[in-house]
């Protein structure tokens, strides 16, 4: 039997693509978090000697932001990230369309006790995240990096998180991210073919702990800035 389908055109291949792009986005999330934790460093920690004796969080955060937009390797990684995000979304849409076609008539009675709600609703969680990312990029990335209308990113971030509904939007986005990650990390490893039982048990545990830690650390930033 001739099988002419490309690497990413079969049901397994499409899920591989989701896994690879998803894991790359997670790698970015970690870097993004580490950078943004600068925002909540208490004043008592300054001056920080290894950062050139920087005297306050304002200067430190703006220096970090300037480094990100001016250091060319970061720009290359950023373009890979944009590509990964677009591929992740397009692949998810193609998979969803295929899945809808595969389903038969709807059941009159459904029993969802055999799976978690977030594993069944990755598309819904992903859509919430997609809307959140567009808002997030329009508020910061667009104004600071693309249009150049804002030069003091620290002040922009601070002003943004003084608006309560903006904080609320961020918290909703972060909760969606948390559940998307819990299932996504485990599912991605399974899709890539990691099958030893002990390894998958550890990955499942790591996925839960990692997602919760990421969500908590991301969630406290807007709240602390709102209360600052």
């Amino acid at each position: 039997m001739a099988v002419k389908k490309g690497l990413f055109k079969t049901s397994v291949g499409r899920k591989n693509l989701m896994a690879i792009t998803g894991l790359f986005i997670i790698f970015f999330l970690v870097i993004h978090l580490i950078g943004n934790l600068i925002l909540i460093i208490p004043n008592s920690f300054f001056p920080i000697e290894f950062w050139g004796g920087v005297e306050n969080v304002h200067d430190m955060y703006n220096a970090y932001s300037h480094f990100l937009v001016s250091f060319w390797p970061v720009t290359i990684v950023a373009w890979v990230l944009y590509a990964a995000m677009i591929i992740h979304v397009v692949d998810a849409l193609l998979i969803t369309i295929q899945n809808r076609k595969s389903r038969g008539e709807k059941y009159q009675v459904t029993d969802n006790s055999t799976s978690t709600w977030y594993s069944r609703n990755m598309g819904v969680l992903g859509t919430i995240l997609g809307v959140f990312i567009v808002l997030h990029m329009a508020q910061f990335w667009l104004k600071y990096k693309v249009l150049g209308t804002e030069h003091d990113l620290y002040e922009l971030v601070l002003a943004t998180f003084k608006v309560w509904w903006f904080v609320l939007i961020y918290e909703i986005g972060i909760i969606a991210m948390c559940f998307h990650l819990i299932h996504g990390i485990e599912s991605a490893h399974r899709s890539l073919g990691i099958y030893p039982k002990k390894v998958m048990s550890i990955i499942k545990y790591i996925a839960l702990c990692f997602s919760l830690v990421m969500a908590i650390l991301y969630a406290i930033i807007p709240i602390i800035l709102y209360l600052k």
């Binding site: 899945n99 389903r103 038969g104 009159q108 009675v109 055999t114």
Partner: protein, 247 residues
Amino acid sequence: MKLTLKIWRQESAKTKGKLVTYKLSDLSSDTSFLEMLDVLNEELASKGEPAVEFDHDCREGICGQCSLVINGKAHGPEEHYTTCQTHLRSFSDGDTITIEPFRANSFPVIRDLKVDRGSMDRIIQAGGYISSFTGMAPEANTIPIHHDIAESAFDSAACIGCGACIATCKNSSAALFVSAKIGHLAKLPQGQIERTERALWMINAHDEEGFGNCSNTGACAMVCPQEVQLLDIARMNFEYNRAKCIS
């Protein structure tokens, strides 16, 4: 026991179906679910009405012929059971039970609760076999196989091909079924000859038959009568990636 049954009645794949309500009384809690349907069909026959069509064969939980989605769960309320092994003691007196066929686009309804699961046979035909000498079966211990590997292969081989995994999957994916066969043969020395091609052929056949993509929700493994594990799907993905790399 008294039970109210809401049963999916549909003349063929081309006609629309609907739930029809029937009432049964004087049932023993030791009656099996399929025997209950037999009782109903006898009542319908005595009234001159068409019987409710449903799949069944061995009624011992090993052939994979029985199907049915009972109150939204494939094979009924018990975990890792087949419909034929489900008894009325799993329900309460006065319950209303909704019975529907296994639903997936690749499982067209033949009539009522009976669906065509030929798509699964075609996936097996695509690669679920091994090359072997013809003649008498060889002596079982000619090829030494480690006990753990034999046990693991047997766990995958236990799949009875009932299709409950597909009926349960929100995407109508047959990943668990395909992975059980790929995993079973990939673990054993007899399966090595077609190992690479098998993964490609069977996954290709899976997609050609119109089954959906696996979302790893794990619902399939929760209803599997033979407790085929979700790890088999990961093993299948490994086999596919391996085959793509070396073929």
